[in-house]
Amino acid sequence: MKKMLFLAVAAMLAFLPAIAGAETGAVKLPPCTEYTLKNGLKVFIMESREVPLVTIQLLVGAGSAMDDPGAEGIANLTGRLLTKGAAGLSADQIAGAIEEIGGVVSVNTGRDYATVDGDFLAKDLARGLDIMGKVVLSPDFPKDDVDREIGLVVAEIQGAKEQPSATASREFVRALLGDHPYAHPVDGSEPSVGAMTREKVLDFYQKRYVPAGAILAVVGDVDAAKAFDIVKAKFDGWKGEAAKAAAIPALAAKKSVGRSLVVINKTDATQSQIRIGNVSVARNTPDYFPLLVTNSVLGGGFTSRLMDEIRVNRGLSYGARSGFNHLKAGGFFGVYTYTKNKSLRETIDVALEQVRKIRDEKISDTELAKTKRYITGLFPFDIERNGDLAGWITDLTYHGIPLDFVEGYCANVDRVTPDDAQRVAREQMWVDNDLILLVTNYDEVKAQLGGLGEARVIELDQVK
């Protein structure tokens, strides 16, 4: 084992001269022009001319955290219904108009915000913006379509229960965050969605789909001035301020103290899904880069500590990772893996040991340097496609972060020190105060769970 490690380092050093001249942080964004319409809509046009395509992304502050109490999933349902009838066009006519020119439009609702995403041949920019303008500004919410979509969402929520991994991730967040607006799944629950009506959807739309605070990015093979003229023509008439809502309460208060163990009992499972984690910090944290780098050491890539110990050394799983999810009002941290039922406890213990270690022992300069190079070397791949660029523009702007974040990314990664890493690990990667959630066959594994605290067992068919 020792020898192997030595060889790896030696081989790495042999290639150092090749990379010494590499400029980290040399990432350049294509030219981008920013405009603001009178109604408050922020518009960014970026000329990226490699392929004859254009991506249009509109961000609206209509995420599931804005769901009305008791109507969990209303943001998601409203988003799905935008394309199901607008400006007098039926759902079929809208789909036909998009698809006959090879276009794609989808609405994707997250916890903080929703995005309406379009992708077209660049020559069809005006037609694409016309359709997107109609579905965002003038949705009709036909009653039949509302009812059908409610049925589909309820069925999809039921169907997700067949997937142990999806169930584990949904229920982990729900159990961790309790009654916080981030806690419920974005698509809601079977009873909450089942009780929705056209009136509730219309009300949510009128309160949340407004230009104030919305962000539109157009990225692709287009001329900025011409593209802006079309955007202005289609979106100038959009009116409205967001209705007053209570600000999303800070998540920090939801942090688990002590350990809790939740088991979703799936009696036919031969493999156990494992999630371990706790509440963490918001997207605007000053520790964004130390957390990024430290997490990558623990659970990013094929050489992370979790991957090495769980997959490579022990063959316990096909995947083992960790990650932070930073939202506007807080975030969460989690370890993600799975293993055959027989090795469940061994895998939990190995994972916890690695979290403990990254808190207790300072990361070596060598390991930190390797991890930083991994992150910065791959970063250019995150800005290759029009859709990647549009996503950076809208997300950063939503969080109030300037776009030069992208160009400074690699330099900021390089600045992280071993002391920074240990400090944020101690603050944000918990081992004794945490939630462990399992989707497994409880009878088969319960003898292994001693010492992890009393399990709260939920039968799979009780999960809504």
Binding site: A11, G102, R275, S317, R321, E384
Partner: protein, 455 residues
């Protein structure tokens, strides 16, 4: 938005039997009727075959300072036999576990510490490896890949632990997955003779028994430069890259060419049906019809038909099953691209209060309508425009370009087919689509797997 993103792990493509590389249209190209840019006659790439038989394809692309390097091997589950099913995919995993120069764990350690990412996939017809990395580490990646092509270690300790990893992959993607279990059943049902009938990931009992010796023999037979294609796309100078390729790959010895699969699936004499009983929330069906191999001219009409049937919400399946009848949550279709004749598969998830039989009847109704009346000119034009736009979408990244070049080499023996295929899609008529619907969607040509949900 999921809390913990499961990034694709290595070999993740071996999920079900057919979900592998057979996403034909994402890899294909066709012109739009309104296409204004003239298609070039050839892709601007440099091609050279080394003395040992390794075909090398280099294409410069300086849009971002990155490179994607791929090695495609002409080996997949079709080359296996009962007793060693899954060994192609297992070797794919072992290719990351050490060779003569770079020992166990070093491939990933060295690559990642130099800012690179690697992954690989296995299908019925091919096994492909890639690294994505910053332009300045090309030589390192060439060194790493040539080392394992020349001298894979298959270290006994890692053979054992990696098989554990593969079994977990199987538990994840098949044994604990309704979808995966159904696709596996469909393969076993539709093929009586051809090796496409067993799963790429392999039967669990074979994964228990495969030995190091099996792996060594299999690797020696198929992992030779004369059975491989090397592709590099991105920000590099062709002359320098070619010199590096010679420096590292010239010394890899060639091997006797492996035997190709001889068995041909006989014509199916009648409908075949199977059930999968599993705890599940809703009924589901898979229906597979035998269609010809990728080099058949009928593939293009079948692909157009796939678009008309299932691409987007204006497609026939979505409109009929999801919207008009309200009996399904999801209805998809996929025409496989494979070296040997494979399947055109319909995949329908019923609403929880509806039945599999209702969904099956609705699918057959749509197919009968197309067989009798064909598709409309508007449907044909729409499908051709979608194919064209998807072609550009798949060419946005250096990785996407290299992947497309490699798959076309495997399927057609020449990546320049990428452009010829455009003309073939353009040439498809509504009559062609009607004709192929009549030939291939006959009831006796189909295999049906029904999910019977259990509490």
């Amino acid at each position: 938005m999921h809390v913990l993103k499961s990034r694709a792990a290595r070999g993740v493509v071996a999920l079900g039997l057919f979900v592998l590389v057979s996403v034909p249209l994402a890899h294909a190209s066709a012109p739009s009727a309104a296409e204004t840019k003239a298609a070039p006659a050839k892709l601007d790439a440099t091609v050279e075959t080394l003395k040992n038989g390794l075909k090398v394809i280099l294409m410069e692309d300086h849009s971002v300072p990155v490179v994607s390097r791929w090695t495609f091997y002409r080996v997949g589950s079709e080359n296996e036999r009962p007793g060693i099913t899954g060994i192609s995919h297992f070797i794919e995993h072992m290719m990351f576990n050490g060779a003569a120069k770079y020992g166990p764990k070093e491939f990933d350690r060295i690559l990642e510490s130099n800012g690179g990412y690697s992954n690989a996939f296995t299908s019925e017809d091919m096994t492909a490896y890639y690294e994505d990395f910053a332009s300045d580490v090309l030589e390192l990646c060439i060194d790493l890949d040539s080392d394992r092509m020349k001298s894979l270690a298959l270290d006994p300790k890692f053979v054992v632990s990696e098989m554990g990893v593969v079994k977990e992959e199987r538990r994840l993607s098949v044994d604990n997955s309704v979808e995966g279990a159904m696709y596996e059943e469909l393969g076993a049902l539709a093929y009586k003779a051809h090796p496409y009938g067993w799963p790429v990931i392999g039967w669990m009992s074979d994964l228990e028994k495969i030995t190091r010796e099996d792996a060594v023999n299999y690797w020696k037979t198929y992992y030779a430069p004369n059975n491989a294609i090397l592709i590099i796309v991105g920000d590099f100078e062709t002359k320098k890259a070619l010199a590096l390729v010679h420096k590292y790959y010239d010394s890899v010895p060639s091997q006797a060419p492996p035997e190709r699969v001889r068995t041909v699936e006989p014509e199916q004499p009648g409908e075949r049906r199977a059930e999968v009983h599993k705890p599940a929330e809703m009924p589901q069906i898979l229906v597979g019809y035998h269609i010809p191999e990728v080099t058949s001219n009928d593939i293009y009409a079948l692909d157009i038909l796939q678009y008309v049937l299932s691409e987007g919400e204006s497609s026939r399946l979505y409109k009929k099953l999801v919207r008009d009848l309200g009996i399904a949550v999801y209805a998809g279709a996929n025409a496989s691209w494979n070296i040997a004749p494979a399947l055109f598969i319909f995949d329908v998830k019923a609403r929880p209060d509806k039945t599999a039989a209702e969904c099956e009847t609705a699918v057959y109704g749509i197919l009968a309508d197309i067989a009798a009346n064909g598709i409309t000119p508007a449907e044909l034009a729409k499908a051709q425009n979608q194919v064209s736009a998807n072609f550009y979408r798949s060419m946005q990244t250096v990785n996407g370009k290299a992947r497309k070049i490699g798959t076309y080499e495997i399927y057609f023996g020449d990546f320049n087919e990428i452009l010829k295929v455009r003309d073939r899609y353009r040439a498809v008529t509504a009559d062609d689509v009607k004709r192929v619907a009549n030939i291939y969607f006959a009831p006796k040509n189909r295999s049906v797997v029904t999910l019977v949900p259990e509490a």
